[in-house]
């Protein structure tokens, strides 16, 4: 197939096709989303692919497919594995017959995440193998190996790339795509698939008995290897191993770990050939803990004695600093340079014309001294507008709101949650809030798409991952079915209308739901929606700054007057806000 310049996730997706994957499921999450985004648009697919409503649902679907003997892939970001942890833990007991690869992408430095947890700990916890690539090429090459290993061992295999693999690019040697003709067939075997206590005790013992063979097999397959080059050694994993190779001097032995669990005997033989050992890995000390177990009296340098950080991501200069501290001189000294200080930051912001900005504006106008629990999506950027007080994990806006309500705080509580997040794990919180009589206002920010991760469709969109029409969920009917009697839909571009409905909700007790419905402005643009553009009449503008404080990137302030730039998408909210009517549709002055 030759060589291509690809994004890490594109290379991973291609490798799945080269492995003859049959079944793909997942939930979008940065940095994992592009794998399914690539697989779902391939013409003449021979595999099934879906965006599931959450990671637990995705994994259970993929597990069932693998029980039917076909090759299954399930993708998610690291925190998604928390949601899928329940089926994960027991899938190690039941095992599988068709290969099951669970891709859980870690995000060291939390570029786009709520924490820096390490997927390798889950693999350790569940006692399943984990592959940890150090480059795009290795990520690509590991995928067919992961499917093969999963089938050979009868266990799910976790594949753990990090942001710097998923979202880095490079020239990759690709193999030929395989068109699979496998059909799934479920063979009944209650002792394997019905985990009542009598069965599960036996299955647990079998899982434990497999461990030693797994360790040996991973060394045989060449995922973990080393070069003896001197009396001191560096052991590194993942992208950290690539950074070490960039600065590794002559005369220092190097061991690369690409798979877990690590064979202790093999590792111990290597460590004992050296006078000291430095361990380089991102996030948790997964490798270091095993190294310390086998090191005996050989000094080990790493996170546990303060030489390397537990948090953040590594880089060649960061690795060089750790090496120097531990007395391993790096090949290259890096120049000490500092960024220029005091430049105004440019964090990501809600787009010009984003529906969330109008909704937040109306919420703040009606609920001035309120508590605003929120959730995970583009709208978390409402933090900059002062309307996001909490974010903890997917679906935790309604639950945090009801918790605060029952805790006795007398203030109003207004929580915000996107449509995709509501369908992911928000519904349970709503049922619970109604059932237990919380006093909260829930605003569902409904843009009909999973926008933040790259506009993936969800059950609210009306199409599947592959673009096939599907009946869209009725959020209104769903909320009513949960027992909410006050459910109102409103267009958040209509500030007056939204303010009126919020005031009505404020007067009522119990759980109130307002569905703020408007297309994501990026989806609208792609769909060819044209609303015209707005401009400021400088003769009327008094320079009061009301529109500028709205925080839209299309509105600038120059020479004491507002000005609207080319980012304007014509939502017209600022025209409604302007107290003197200076903002008008262009061409209609």
């Amino acid at each position: 197939m030759g060589r291509k310049y690809l994004l890490g996730n594109e290379a991973i997706a291609h490798a799945c096709v080269e492995s003859g994957v049959d079944f793909v499921s997942g939930y979008p999450g940065t940095p994992s989303s592009e794998v399914i985004d690539v697989l779902r648009v391939q013409p003449d697919r021979s595999y099934y692919v879906e965006w599931s409503v959450n990671e637990k649902v995705a994994l259970e679907n993929a597990l069932a497919a693998a029980w039917c003997g076909i090759r299954s892939l399930c993708t998610m970001k690291h925190v998604g594995l928390n949601v899928a942890a329940d089926p994960l833990m027991t899938s190690a007991y039941t095992g599988i017959t068709g290969g099951l690869v669970i891709m859980s992408a870690d995000d060291p430095f939390a570029h786009s995440s709520q924490n820096e947890q390490d997927t390798r700990c889950y693999a350790h916890f569940a006692r399943v193998p984990c592959l940890d690539p150090a480059s795009i090429q290795e990520a690509h090459d590991m995928i067919p190996e992961a499917f093969g290993l999963s089938e050979e061992l009868g266990l799910p295999v976790i594949f753990r790339p990090t942001t710097r693999i998923c979202h880095s690019k490079g020239d990759v040697n690709l193999g030929e795509p395989i068109v699979s003709i496998r059909k799934g067939e479920f063979h009944k075997d209650p002792r394997q698939y019905v985990v009542i206590p009598a069965h599960t005790r036996v299955l647990h013992k079998k899982l434990n008995e497999k461990q030693s063979a797994i360790r040996k097999r991973l060394v045989e397959r060449g995922f973990n290897h080393y070069k003896l080059r001197g009396k001191i050694a560096i052991i590194a994993s993942g992208i950290g191993a690539t950074y070490v190779q960039e600065v590794l001097p002559e005369g220092v032995s190097f061991m690369k770990i690409g798979a877990y669990p690590i064979d202790e005997e093999w590792l111990g033989d290597f460590v004992k050939k050296h006078e000291k050992v430095l361990v380089i890995e991102e996030l948790a000390p997964e490798v270091e803990e095993v190294v310390r177990q086998v090191a005996g009296c050989v000094p080990v340098f790493g996170k546990k004695n303060g030489y390397a950080p537990y948090e953040g991501e590594l880089s060649p200069p960061a690795v060089a600093v750790i090496m120097e501290k531990a007395g391993f001189l790096p090949k290259n000294p890096f120049p000490q340079v500092d960024p220029i200080q005091n430049l105004p930051p440019r964090p990501p912001i809600l787009c010009a014309g984003c529906l969330h900005r109008g909704a937040f504006y109306a919420i703040k106008k009606v609920f001035k001294d309120a508590i605003y629990p929120s959730d995970i999506g583009c709208y978390t950027l409402g933090l900059q507008l002062g309307v996001v007080d909490t974010t903890i994990c997917m679906g935790a806006s309604i639950t945090v709101a009801s918790g605060i309500s029952h805790a006795g705080d007398p203030r109003d509580i207004v929580c915000t949650i996107g449509d995709s997040t509501f369908l992911h794990t928000g519904i349970q919180g709503l049922i619970n809030a109604v059932y237990n009589g919380a006093n909260i206002t829930v605003v569902i920010l409904d843009n009909r798409i999973t926008a933040m991760t790259g506009h993936q469709p969800n059950p609210n969109t009306g199409v599947t991952a592959c673009g096939v029409e599907s009946p869209p969920v009725s959020l209104d009917a769903l909320c009513r079915a949960c027992g909410v009697s006050f459910v109102e839909s409103v267009d958040p571009y209509d500030i007056t209308g939204m303010v009126n409905i919020l005031q009505e909700a404020k007067r009522r007790k119990g759980v109130k739901v307002i569905i703020a419905k408007q297309m994501c402005v990026i989806s609208a643009r792609r769909a060819g929606v044209k609303r015209g553009r707005y401009g400021v009449n400088p003769d009327i503008c008094t320079g009061c700054g009301t529109c500028v404080r709205f925080g839209c990137p299309a509105i600038e302030f120059e020479d004491e007057k507002a000005r609207i730039n080319e980012l304007c998408s014509g939502c017209a909210v600022c025209a409604e806000l302007c107290p003197v009517g200076a903002i008008v549709r262009e061409g209609k002055k």
């Binding site: 710097r164 880095s168 490079g170 020239d171 950074y243 060649p316 960024p339 790259g454």
Partner: protein, 194 residues
């Protein structure tokens, strides 16, 4: 130090840094050379400051260490300043004379340096300053600003202009090939003068 020619492309989410880095990657493939890179995806793209690292002949990691970039291409004046510490001593900057003030300046009353102050600070480096927006418009579409920038920078990039042009033709939307070829050539011509 790693033997690669390191290019950092910076700008604001939505300005087309990713397409520019894809063109460089494709041109490397055309010449049969290795290339590594990394870029900003996800929420950070929403109007935020974005960076694309490209390491021509790169064999190791995708990230350019600060102080090691051979070339900095910036689609915005302020972003050029923000990332200027990535340039190595004697490295070159190709910068679009275009300044978008971050919304934080308006909403939080922060002080931003003026255009003249930024340009004065950038002049500490080898600087090629151009009005890429104007050239893009002249070539037929303001959206080709990123290709104008690449054309201007191409004078300093160790890739053949034919390879870069072939990559442009391959990667831009079909209807815009001629506009982008013109944009590249206009940029390249200007790049030859600075």
């Amino acid at each position: 130090m790693s033997g690669s020619f390191d290019i950092l492309i910076v700008g604001i989410g939505g300005q087309g840094t990713i397409l520019a880095s894809n063109i460089l990657g494709e041109a490397c493939l055309i010449e049969g050379r290795h290339v590594k890179g990394a870029e900003t995806h996800g929420m950070a793209q929403r109007g935020g400051s974005v960076e694309s690292h490209i390491r021509i002949d790169g064999l190791f990691g995708p990230m350019i260490p600060p102080g090691q970039a051979d070339l900095l291409i910036s689609f915005d004046l302020l972003e050029a300043l923000r990332y200027s510490h990535y340039l190595k001593k004697g490295g070159k900057m190709v910068v679009n004379r275009h300044l978008v003030l971050p919304t934080s300046v308006y909403t939080q009353n922060l002080v931003a340096p003026t255009e003249d102050e930024i340009i004065a600070a950038l002049k500490k480096h080898v600087l090629c300053l151009l009005d890429a927006d104007k050239m893009a418009e002249e070539s037929g579409s303001p959206l080709s600003q990123n290709v104008v920038m690449l054309g201007a920078a191409s004078q300093s990039i160790p890739l053949k202009p034919e390879s870069l042009l072939a990559a442009v033709r391959h990667l831009v939307p079909k209807k815009t090939i001629e506009i982008n070829v013109k944009a590249f050539e206009m940029g390249r011509e200007f790049g030859g003068t600075c």
